[in-house]
């Protein structure tokens, strides 16, 4: 028996091609979770439309029957944004996977939401162009999911997040309106709803088409590796590089455990035994890269780097990056499970935050590997745990929560690029007060008055915050004084 009304399913089946609706248990299993696999729920049904018209029809039917909708791209999200909801239809956009057009002169690509991130850069490559945001999952993740999560990647300091690299989004509301947000020009009249839609985690409308900005491939990109015998020194080096006026295309830091795991896994040639490693990529025109690398070299040396190497060719460069890009699966090899955090902090606060993480690691008895987008302050501590040990997941989540609260305390945020989803609802109560959360709820209601799109994700209810008892003291006042406490 499905959790959805029989007449709804019957109508839905009529709207979609024969292979467009999944209801058998074995077909639904792959949709139980996204890449945050600790959370699972079997959806009652999965719709797989192929066209915008089919999506419109599905949404219209959901509205008629008051059935909630969870939109899903390729399921690589890391915060449970696409986790199925009981009594809700899962709407997969994976079959809308066509690149509609590429305009090499205007440097734009018009794509459907199910197109893979990397496929855009591959299609643009013959024109010397590429799409800049490159989340680590770029071979698999969908551009629609990237917009929904405002995904980042390794090159955000210089090239920005998804929100900086898209021009226009076409989306369908639950009321059936087709919205064009942004434009093919540099701006659009009215409020910046393109920014509001980006990172809205499927809560406002269903994205059916995206126009992305393509950039010319830099003439040259070179990566420098620097090893340090202390994390603090590596942290200082990051500050010095920025202070010298260099905006690296990529600036990554890994700690000892992450270095070792990555080296064992992909043999990138990392200096095993170093306490910290920096990967600094400088790109641009040839002369600029030479000048930039020289300055970076001087800076890391002055900060006590024990070893400095530059990749001599593209192959070596790819190898150095391969270690970093494989850091997550590498950790997966040395621990039965790991939990990936995603806080952002002001870069200068890194040393104290790492000390705090080490303390927490001791306190909870869980190992932590740190991978850090040092350029933009986005920290990915990976907590190593074993889900088969009773209570260890809960302990891990509790520790993760503490790490995120540390990020807020130093002026940062609970999520830099993975989104809130279901995972960080509790921490949202710490980062925002009830008036701010109410604005988020009101904005959702402006787009989605019946509240049918991905309900319960990304923004916690005020009751949830009160029950969690997250004592967020904002402007000297207790949160939610209007709500009863238990």
């Amino acid at each position: 028996m499905s959790a959805l009304p029989a007449d709804f399913l019957e109508n839905l089946r009529r709207l979609l091609p024969p292979d467009g609706l999944l209801t058998a248990a074995e077909d639904l299993a792959p949709y139980e979770c996204d890449a945050l696999s600790a959370y699972r729920r079997r959806p009652p049904a999965v719709a797989l439309p192929r066209t915008e018209e089919e999506i419109s029809a599905v949404l219209h039917l959901c509205r008629l029957h008051d059935v909630p909708v969870v939109a899903r791209g390729h399921g690589t999200g890391l915060s449970g944004g696409a986790l199925p909801i009981e009594h809700a239809l899962l709407l997969s956009l994976a079959r809308l996977n066509r690149i509609l057009s590429i305009d090499p002169l205007a440097r734009t690509a018009r794509v459907q939401p199910g197109v893979r991130n990397l496929a855009i850069s591959q299609a643009a490559a013959p024109h010397g162009l590429y799409y800049a945001p490159d989340p680590s999952s770029q071979i698999a993740c969908s551009i629609g999911g990237n917009v929904a999560e405002n995904s980042g990647g390794l090159h955000c300091l210089k090239y920005g997040l998804t929100v900086h690299n898209i021009l226009e989004v076409r989306a369908i509301t639950i009321e059936g309106d087709i919205l064009t947000l942004g434009s093919q020009a540099y701006d659009a009249p009215g409020y910046d709803l393109l920014a509001l839609m980006t990172g809205s985690e499927g809560m406002l409308a269903v994205i059916v088409e995206i126009t992305v900005r393509l950039l010319p491939k830099p003439e040259r990109a070179q990566v420098l590796l620097a090893a340090f015998d202390s994390i603090a020194n590596a942290g200082v080096a990051v500050g010095q590089i920025i202070a010298a006026g260099i905006i690296p295309a990529g600036l990554e830091m890994m700690d000892k455990l992450a270095i070792q795991a990555a080296e064992d896994y992909v043999h990138a040639g990392y200096p095993v035994g170093a306490e910290a490693l920096l990967l600094v990529e400088v790109d641009g025109v040839n002369e600029e890269v030479s000048d930039g690398l020289r300055i970076v070299y001087e800076m890391v040396k002055a900060c006590g780097a024990t070893e400095v190497r530059t990749a001599l060719d593209d192959m070596e460069r790819a190898k150095l990056w391969a270690g970093r890009k494989a850091a997550f699966p590498a950790i997966g090899r040395i621990s039965p499970d790991y939990y990936c955090m995603d806080g952002t902090i002001p870069r200068g606060r890194l040393p104290e935050v790492l000390v705090r993480i080490a303390e927490l690691s001791e306190e909870y008895g869980l190992r932590v590997a740190n991978v850090f987008h040092a350029g933009d302050g986005n920290l990915h501590p990976l907590i190593l745990y074993d889900a088969n040990q009773p209570g260890e997941l809960e302990k891990t989540e509790a520790m993760g929560g503490k790490i995120l609260e540390t990020c807020i305390a130093v002026g940062g945020t609970i999520t830099g690029e993975h989104g809130v989803g279901v995972e960080k609802l509790g921490q949202m109560c710490v980062q925002f007060n009830s008036a701010e959360l109410e604005v988020f709820h009101a904005l959702k209601a402006a787009f989605d008055p019946p509240g049918l799109l991905n309900p319960g994700k990304a923004v916690p209810s005020l009751h949830r915050c009160a029950e969690l008892g997250a004592m967020h003291v904002h402007h000297g006042q207790l949160p939610h004084p209007e709500l009863p406490r238990f």
């Binding site: 020009a185 040839n286 600029e288 030479s290 945020t413």
Partner: protein, 350 residues
Amino acid sequence: MNIHDQWLADCGERIRQAAAQQRKLSIRGGGSKHFYGNAVAADMLEMAEYDGVVDYQPRELTLTARAGTRLEVIEALLAKNNQMLPFEPPHFGTGATLGGCVASGLSGPRRPHAGAVRDAVLGVKVMDGRAQVLRFGGQVIKNVAGYDVSRLMVGAMGTLGVLLEISVKVLPCPDGECTLILEMPADKAVETMNRWAASPLPLSATVWRAGHLYVRLSGTESAVHAAMPKIGGERIPEDAAFWRSLREQTMPDLAMRPLWRLSVPTTSKVLTAPGQPVIEWGGGIRWYGTDMPADTLRALANQAGGHATLFRSHQPVQQAFTPLAAPLATLHRRIRLALDPHGVFDTGRL
């Protein structure tokens, strides 16, 4: 209570009063962009006293200032650290404030290459229509917690609330900069600007005016030197003054009224019916001093995939911006109500 807390308390009181009396508040920084947007009749809420840089961390590439802080002050402070606002904002007068800059969302010549105001805004503190102080975003570059209300505020012309504090990303100033001039017709210039933008050149601004294409290169001295022969043309002296006169619209080409701003896809073909344009942003902005009817210009911009704004006029402007399609207009109204349920800031300026 310090002067800023006192100001905040007074501001809250003004908003509550306005809501109670069903009056509207028009927010004013330095008044330098008074000409921009629809003419409004509302009480004035002055921001100039709510000023001062709150935090500036050169190594973090971030700056936070109160909305009434003058742009001049911020730019001078950044310059001491060899940094700048990436979006090269027009001031349009000595009183221009950070709040006005963000509320109007107007960016300068560097926009296609370093991003717009909205791209640099990291977080805001605002007072909404219920006189609540709210914070969105933060001081870090990557932040996806909650909807992006900070960027929603950019270009909202003060119709969603009072910007109190704004955090922006800043960038190092380039070591080298030079401007080259080439003689060519407008359509050739548009094609050339796009072709260059699709190749790895250190461009930082382009404009076509009066039969000439101007190209600014920025970066390390070596990068600028290496790029010069690829562009060709002649180097112009006093290039900073040239770009300032474009940005501030003090050059004679932009003196005509009414002055229209057509924002179109960069490769759009050049319309000559409204007259000779000034073409900025790699082809993305076309300025026309023309008496052509608004509907005609809007239709032309729309056909090209863009929109037209009546930027400056001798008369009070009734409809500066392109009207929104029905579903978008409804959405705008609902969004305004979410932040300003009593319509205190619903001045009609946008």
